[in-house]
Symmetry: C2
Subunit: 757 residues, 2 copies
């Protein structure tokens, strides 16, 4: 199959470089010393019978983290990062993820539990593996790299080639070429990326094949790793022969199931290999890779990219390896795996030839320079083994004393990193924090997620067959279209709420300055808001919070309002404290008080120092990528201080509250204080009723309340509705400055998927 | 009750002038000669058991048009106009509305059907009236004017006065004062506004009380109108006495029910008068008014305003009339009613005094000058009876020959006027045409309507207890919030549709000019669209409709797209015709083809003349207040002509289609052509499935279709989805340039209210 010429002639290079990528990463849960724990898989991850991201492999302690397939490797890597952050933040405080493939601190075999799965056969299969290979070998972890050749490339190439007249046969041939050539040259990847140079004595017990202190490139990929009995030889000459030989060894009982065949490549797309002949291969799974302990996620993105280029080269080169070449490749693999990692490899010339061939391929594909640089770096590692992953790893192990000690140290470091911005998901930090929180919960609970438009915070979530779309964290199919339209229109909101019998501020409209001023006596002494009927950006609004007492002031405010509109409203100003109620369905899930930016004096520190101390809260940042905003000391704050007779260098008395802003917005450094438990239940019920009056399922209701401890008295006007919001902020409730966190995103998921456990 | 002083002292003038207003107008359906018809009430008006606007009074032929109550008289008048337009356009072609109170062309009594109502008692009551008073007297029509004193005024005044300690008693006293003073001075309104100077001989038969040729001011309001037996005297000294005397005459059988008491004022708010004592009067109904035949709606807005001021004056003056004064008022009423309408009234001095008092009141209330001018005009009519309604009417009757002839002539004129802009509702023409169409249907079918925000096209509709909100004619509670959000985002739309298996244009993304140009061969010869990934206002888009054949052109287009974004897409251009499918639920209700502005030659007229002729279509206007837009002859059209070797003065051949625009938008003079019946059903099903994939109930789907007569072939890519719209235009389907009208607004109402008949 001469693919190279076809791609060049017909300009298929771009399609050739496309594809789908997925990564599966096994690893052990450990304690702070690096010992594998015997605790159960955390129940917070829901049920493994369907979880798409967080599974267990052989053992209950052996996490398997799985990314969804993506068109771009960068996205796959973001998922790998996100799933790690969710997992690490969800583990018990004293558990970590071991970054090495080879286990350390193994408990006695009897204490190692096979993964406690729902499916009986899955459990039986694991018990069979324990019996045949021993439990310790099954505790080894690694990376599986899934690659699907772009279907558009397959279609275009199929249309242009002449060798095959059936598209499935053509696609299968492509995958056979990829698999066999990979097996032929896989030793190269072991030389460059392997990271299992040693293992604790306990692992092999008395029968260690290694000499005292012997280091190798890969214990996992060599003859002491997963290997089948020597007589189990699967024929790679064609897919047909491959299928037949696989079925033969299952029939003889040498393999319990096809999946017991330990190959570094598995062809995927059907439950039984035979089906691949008809249905066609869908993708290939490359299982060769040791965890790279120097990467928090077990693999570096650049290495994942290198692997992709290597796979492309396996398709690009003219030869298609058959059974003979596969066997040669396996011999070389075993030889290289057992080489001393500090030494040059015996096959350096072949390795450099393949990398040079890859460089030539990149030229032909007009690939950007940085990918060529990556290849040049790898090429240089043939001359300098200390630059390979193993080389760098050995230096680190030496420093730490043992790979177990290094593993424990890195595991703690990686866990701490995952908590640095605990309210965010680093890989999805281009999205809003509320969407990140929703993603966190969705990953944790095992929903299938698709990021439809990250800029627009648009997700598709799936649980079983149930598909839901979510925008901005809480805009869903559960709300009626008309509800946000009602809330968006303040005039309509007021009418709808007034009709439904709720207290809204009363207002009188005027069409001329003279008319309004003539009615001044109606308002004298009352707290009122004067505003244009249609308000734009709050222009023309005057508030007489303490009651209007001067006719000239009143006239001036009316005049200002008339500059913006032909009609002016004088509205009651409700006196009390404003609270935000977050309503979901029949329940008020959270109540929040927003307090203007402030610091509390201690009689010792200056305002400036107090501000600095308050700003050191990890929740405070720029306000868009953090739940709270740092308090500024700008002109507005200085003016506010001045009004209190203070400067930034004043030292407020112990307990003195110094206000730095008049407005209570979180976005200007305000504090968010959870008051859910303190709020009288009658108001929570009221907020639910208000949301219902507008047909809203998810709604942020702003109520003015004179005393939150006393029951609402509808007739007495002791409270009032200010407005209702159809996409209420969730972050301020989830990570309040003070008070209990309310995990609203979980409630949104439960609303969308009532079947979630 | 000294209200005047209270209002002045406490600045209650604005509240005093507020209130709620409603108008009920009876009138007879007639043929083109002015004869009352004996056909049934049109079934298109649904069922009279609940219709809030279009009812029948005594007879089946006697329409009763009822406005909802409004805070502003102007709005009440708009409703009166709208209900008239709906009624007139819904009548059979040969039926009209008689503009006079006194009937003409009466059929024999036996042929007059009492209104065929569902409620048995209502029918019985009408039969009773027929028996006691004769059917002819019941055929007289008039205007009832409902007025509710502002509840805020009542509350404020009650709080400030000292006479009453119960608010209901205070409110009842206000209404008694209003009613009694009205009855005392009602003759003034008869002098100015009455319009029943004569009646056909047939009406009174042999026993006419009038001399041959005698003209009076009001046959309807005088002693020959509705009057009870002389001994039925109801005491007006207090509400208590009023209730008791009313109950007395019902008990004696002199009245079949309280409502048989014919007073020119009725106090409303309870089914039985006695309940008013406890519940309080809600509003007062003034039944004095003859139809003004010179007004299309039976009353002029200025007269309705004058009546309001008159009612205010009845509250403003210090006296509160008792039974004696009411009786005096009735005497004066009867006397004035029988005066010759061309003469001065005997009570001119009293009339002028009351109007001068009203003028003084307006001064005290700081009312705008135009309302004072109105009063001055009415005042002048005491000196010049020819300026009263009667005066002007008599002149018109003389010209027409008889009041019947004048009535028939005006009835036809008013009906023609109602059809002038048949696609609009004149009174609601500030709203979008689709909302006007929805309002038309809602009025016709008898939904309770509230205009929540006219600028925002926001309505509340109610049928029984079922309340629905509608924005822009089709945005409702029946759509999920997420659906429009999906449709609003083109990237998400495409992903959602592609996932659901629909054909969407395929695309490839590039991140550099070089990369894109290197892949030119992939696209050579294909029809493609080149565009920035995020399109803003269509900037940077190039379409190669006929296939791209020049690499330099391709590179240029790529370069232009890169000016707008860092990523550029090359997308398949679908070849075929674009159709708009209007989907509602499980059905495609309409399919439309939009054709660029064009004229068809006839071998005789110039392009300019053909455009003019086409523009004379009443559907064509400015495009926002008309369903279609007039074709312009501006620069773009001239250029388009030039490309065809034409000028506006060219004479195209017979049958030649001259295109004046490249784009097919209706807003640039394009034609809308209904293709619902022509479109292959498979595409209609497809459009429904596409809407469903986005969870949409109401949706406009744009499909590209190669041949509308052949079934859709999903696998063959013989069609494609361009986009989906969540607030699809309805007007172009309701009033297409060509083809059948599809009344989509009725379907929207049926969706909202499945119980509608």
């Amino acid at each position: 199959m001469k693919l190279q010429q076809l791609i060049k002639t017909h300009h298929l290079g771009l399609l050739f470089q496309q594809g789908k990528f997925g990564i599966e990463k096994e690893s052990q849960r450990i304690d702070n010393k690096g010992n594998i724990v015997t605790t159960a898989h955390p129940s917070v991850f829901g049920n493994r019978s369907y979880h798409p991201y967080i599974q267990t492999d052989f053992a209950e302690s052996q996490l398997e983290l799985i990314t969804p397939p993506n068109d771009k490797l960068e996205d796959t890597y973001r998922w790998l990062s996100a799933i790690h952050e969710v997992t690490l933040r969800s583990l018990p405080d004293d558990e970590y993820i071991f970054p090495f493939s080879m286990p350390a601190g193994l408990p006695p075999e009897s204490e190692i539990k096979e993964a406690q799965l729902d499916n009986e056969w899955d459990v039986k299969y694991r018990e069979h593996l324990s019996a045949i290979y021993g439990k310790y070998k099954q505790m080894v972890s690694g990376i599986h790299y899934n690659f699907q050749i772009s279907e558009e490339f397959v279609e275009s190439a199929f249309a242009l080639q002449t060798e095959y007249c059936d598209k499935i046969a053509f696609r299968n041939a492509l995958y056979m070429k990829l698999a066999n050539n990979f097996l032929r040259y896989q030793w190269i990847l072991v030389y460059l990326l392997a990271a299992t140079p040693t293992v604790e004595a306990q692992y092999f017990g008395k029968n260690s094949p290694l000499a005292e202190g012997q280091l190798v490139r890969s214990l996992r990929s060599g003859p002491y790793g997963y290997v089948n009995a020597p007589h189990v030889v699967i024929n790679h000459d064609s897919l047909q022969q491959y299928v037949e030989s696989l079925e033969h060894f299952v029939a003889t009982g040498d393999l319990l199931a096809e999946k017991e065949f330990y190959s570094n490549v598995r062809l995927r797309g059907a439950k039984k290999a035979r089906e691949l002949l008809k249905k066609g291969v869908k993708y290939a799974e490359f299982r060769l890779f040791d965890l790279n302990p120097l990467s928090p996620y077990g693999i570096e993105l650049v290495d994942a990219k290198f692997i992709h280029l290597f796979l492309l080269a396996m398709l690009w080169i003219d030869e298609t390896s058959g059974q003979k070449e596969v066997e040669l490749g396996t011999q070389k693999l075993y030889q290289v795996a057992l080489e001393d990692p500090r030494s040059h490899t015996a096959f350096q010339a072949e390795g450099e030839a393949i990398l040079n061939l890859m460089l030539a391929m990149l030229d032909d594909l007009s690939v950007p320079q940085n990918e060529k640089d990556l290849l040049q770096q790898k090429l240089a590692q043939f001359a300098d083994p200390s630059q390979t992953v193993n080389g760098r790893l050995l230096a680190a192990i030496e420093q730490a004393g043992s790979y177990k000690a290094l593993g424990a140290q890195l595991a703690q470091q990686y866990k701490a990193q995952a908590f640095e911005r605990f309210y965010a998901i680093s890989a999805f930090d281009n999205m809003e924090l509320s969407t990140q929180a929703l993603l966190f919960d969705a990953i944790q609970q095992g929903l299938q997620i698709e990021l439809l438009d990250e800029n627009d915070q648009f997700l598709a979530l799936k649980f079983g067959d149930h598909l839901e779309y979510v925008k901005n964290g809480n805009m869903t199919s559960h709300d009626q279209y008309i509800s946000p339209l009602i809330m968006e229109n303040k005039v309509v909101t007021k009418k709808v709420l007034a009709k439904a019998g709720f207290n809204v501020p009363k207002s009188i409209e005027f069409t001329s300055l003279e008319q309004a001023v003539a009615h001044y006596p109606l308002f004298e002494g009352k707290a009122v808001v004067i505003k244009p009927k249609s308000t734009n950006y709050g222009l023309g609004i005057t508030i007489f919070q303490q009651g209007v007492t001067d006719k000239a002031d009143f006239a001036k405010a009316i005049e200002i309002a008339f500059r913006e509109d032909k009609e002016v409203m004088v509205e009651d100003y409700l006196v009390g404290t404003e609270y935000r109620f977050f309503v979901l369905g029949d329940e008020t899930l959270a109540v929040l008080l927003r307090v203007p930016a402030n610091v509390k004096g201690d009689g010792a520190h200056t305002v400036r120092e107090l501000v600095e101390a308050k700003n050191s809260d990890p929740l405070r940042g720029d306000g868009s990528r953090s739940p709270l905003k740092k308090i500024a000391l700008g002109d507005i704050e200085l003016l506010q201080l001045k009004e209190q007779g203070l400067t930034p260098d004043s030292i407020p008395a112990d307990g003195q509250i110094v206000q730095l802003r008049a407005n209570s917005n979180i976005s200007t450094g305000g504090d968010s204080i959870d008051m859910t438990d303190q709020m009288h239940d009658s108001y929570k019920q009221l907020a639910v009723s208000i949301a219902k009056a507008m047909g809203a399922k998810v709604c942020g209701v702003d109520l003015i309340i004179p005393d939150l401890t006393k029951a609402a008295e509808p007739s007495l006007r002791s409270w009032g509705v200010i407005e209702a919001n159809f996409n209420p902020m969730m972050m301020m409730h989830i990570f309040p400055y003070q008070g209990k966190s309310r995990r609203l995103t979980k409630a949104v998921l439960k609303m969308l998927f009532p079947g979630l456990p």
